[in-house]
Structure formats: C-alpha cells, structure tokens
Amino acid sequence: MSWLPFAHALVARQDLPIPAWLFAWGASIVLIASFFALSAAWRQPRFEEVHWRSLGAGLSRLLLSRPLQVFCGLLGVFLLGVAIYTGLHGTEAPDRNFALTFLFVTTWLGFPFFSALLGNIFRPLNPWRAVGRASGAGFRAIAGQRPTHLAYPEQLGRWPAAIGLLAVVWLEVVYGSSGGVAVGLAPATAATAALFYSVYTLAMMGLFGVEKWCERGEVFSVYFGMFSQLGLFAVRGGVLGRRRPLAAATHCATLPGSAAVVIASIASTSFDGGQEGAFKSAIESVFNWFVDRGVGLTASLRLTDTIFMLACFAGVGLVYLLGVRGMRTVRGAPSLSQLRIGFAHTLIPIALAYLVAHYFSLFVFQEQAQFTYLLSDPLGTATTDLFGTASGGVDFTILSANAIWYVQVGALVVGHVLGLTLAHDRALVYWPDYRQAARSQYWMLAVMVAFTCFGLYLLSVSNA
C-alpha cells in the first residue's frame, strides 16, 4: 500500500438520490424547525448547572490512582518518543512512516472525537504534563520547596494556544502540502517540529507552571480539553463523576482567546476542506499572481495557502461576530464583549461537526494503516514485523461514498442543532423572558445555517 487517501478522497463516486445542494436545503429546514421548537418549548436554562454526580469512590481510587497516572504519563512520553524516533530515523515516505499518521491522524483527530464522548482523556496521557510534573517533583525532592513561577499575563488568556493551533495546522496542510498522501509533511520535519514544540512547552511550563500552561497555552491540552467539555465524564475534587453532556461547555470559554481557539478549529478545517475543492481556482489565481512577480514556486504556494488559511480564520470570526452583533440589537442585551465571550462555547459542537464531517473517512481508513503495517513496521523500512501485521493494508470498501456523505451531512446537522441549543440556553440566561431570548437568537440561527451550508458546500465540491 503506497497510496493513502486525501482527507476527502473517495474510492467511488457518490450515487445520491437527490442533488447534494438539496441536502443543504434540508439541513437548513431542520435547523429552522429546531429553532422554533426550542423557542416554544425550552423556557429555562438547563445547561448552566453541570449536574455532576460521583461514579463511586472505588472507581475513582482505581482510575485516578498514582500508579495508573504514572503509567499513563509514561505511555504518553513513550509514544511521543516513538513518533519522534521514527520520524527522524524512518523512511521518508510519509504514508509508510509511523510518525505522521500517529501525530496527525491518531492523535490530532482521535482525541477530539473521543474527548467529546468521554471527557478529558488527553490530560493523563499528556507527555509534556507528565515530564513537567516529574520535573517539579524532582525539584521538590532536591530543593525541599515547590518551584516558583512567573505570574501568567492573564490578558493573553488562551491566545498562545489559538496561535499554536493555527501553527500546527499550517505545518500540516500548508508547509506539508504535497500531492497524493494523507499527510504530505516529511516525517523528519514533523519529528523536528515535535522536538521543538516539546522544548518550547517545557520551557513555558517551567516559567508559568505546568497546570497553568496546560490550561492556557499548551495547544493540545487546550484544543482537546475544549472538546472534552462536551463529554460525559469529569474529575472534580479528585473524584471521577458523570455530568450532563454539553453542560460543562457553558463555562469553558470564559478566558480571553477561547473563542479564537474554536474559530481557529473551524477555520483550519474549512481551509483544509476547501483548498483542494471550493477554493482551488481562487488559490491558483493568487498562486499565479505571486509566480508572475518572480516569487519561487514553493514560496508562492505556501504564501497563497497561508493567506487563504488566515482569510478562513477572519471569515469564520466575522460570521460569528455578525451573529453576536445581531443579538446586541435586542432590548436588554448585555455588552458586545459579554455576548462575544458568552456565546463562544456554542461553536464547539460545530467545530466537532466540521472535524467529523471532513476527517471521518480519513480517520477510518488511516487507522487501519496505523494498527496494521505502521504498528508492525513503524520505520517503514520493510525490515521489521513486530506484531505480524506488516503486510496488512487499508480496506477502502468498508465505507461507501454514499455512507461517507450521509455521515458528513448527519454530523453537520447534529453539530449545528447542538450549537443552536447551547446558544438558546445561554440566551435564556441573558434574557429571562423566553420570547426576547428567542428573538436574540434569530441571528445565531442565520450563523448556524450559514456554517451548515458552507460546510456542505465544501464537502460537496471536495467529493465531486
């Protein structure tokens, strides 16, 4: 198997019973119907309380025990080490090297999906947190005191994570943009970037403290942690418990830059989905413009892609701000900044929906490679067969083109209905009169319909 799929590539053409654009109309009707149902029947906020319930002291003791935490931390460090080692010493073929699929598919796509279901599962496995905590414990043992840290500049909030998130995606889809493979980045480049990021993260943890940096600046903790707020399980006061799904999200976007993180997520997925489809001709025009002015081919391509990626970020942010601005026109509205922060969490299900819609097929196909030949032959040199699965391959027939499309449509509709529900629930906090609350959500409905139709358009062009 020397060829792996693009994020949106399909093994067969779709054979849909109706044109793809009619799905956008259908999805819009579902959203409008949901809006009216919420306006009529949902008159009290229900997600402001998390309704956390303990799962029992025994289970908490077992799952949160020190030995298990140490084991998970070591496992995270080991896997990161394997990814860096294989990236530096393995084959240069991106699709045969363990590092790229592990970093950009298994980790980058797997954690959001599973965190949204289960809660913050990345936290115990976070290799940098494990190293940071072990270093702190070592320092305490030697110096006999806790390490002191600088005060984190609170006005920065989660902006370092938002910028880091764009940088990670830029590395993958702009810098590593090259034909025909799932992730086109050179494995050695990915490994070097991981090393650089590790040094940077550990330095920041040393400066500001491990937990503080994980909560605000560590890209993976903030990004996966954002999706985990939708999940069912959470630890509170050292006890594992169950909570109302989605409810924790209502309190997670209070720091500056939180909205930027979720907007960056939607924008980067949109860009990745659009660069080979909907934006292709526009990208080619700008690329040619740079080339005509004597800029090198690679530089022109990267410059063009960077511009479009930033434009996606600005565009998604602008649509959200228009929705917020519309709410401000309703009598009794709080300030614009309060609304901007107060509704940022409603975009989290949309970010997840975009991820599922754009990468679901890639994840299903690529994980077959991850757990067969990439696991047995991580260096990709065809000299090892650790688990006897090195000759395995990817079965592209397990998902039909139609099945992928229906999952994409379903994910986008469910994600936007959930976003609409969270927005309506938050509106009831700001406007206790449910009629005013419903009025305030007219513009959020427009935002949700716009994101749904835009997402389906990107997918339909990519799939065509």
Binding site: W21, A24, W25, S28, I32, A278, G326, T329, R439, Y442, W443, L445, A446, V449, A450, C453, F454, L456, Y457, S460
Partner: protein, 48 residues
C-alpha cells in the same frame, strides 16, 4: 436555442447561499415588523 449550461457547475454555490439568504431576509423582515409594532404600541400608549 441551446442554453449555455457548460459552466453551470461553477455557479452551484448559489444554491448553497440561497437558504442563508432566505433566513436573513426572514430575520430582517421579522425584526422590522416587530420594531414597527413596538413603535405603534408606544404611540398608542402616549395617545391614551
């Protein structure tokens, strides 16, 4: 007469914009009529 449909695929995006347009028009219309009704109710109260 043959319709120039060879490049119609380039304009499919219009069909994806239309639902958004309808929703925005509906919102603007509803908002304006609510504002007008509010003004009328205010002027009725003043005249009473």
């Amino acid at each position: 007469m043959t319709l120039p449909l060879a490049h119609i695929g380039h304009y499919l995006w219009v069909l994806y914009i239309l639902p958004v347009g309808f929703v925005v028009i509906g919102i603007v219309k509803t908002t304006l009529s609510e504002k007008r009704r509010g003004r009328e109710e205010d002027s009725d109260e003043d005249s009473d």
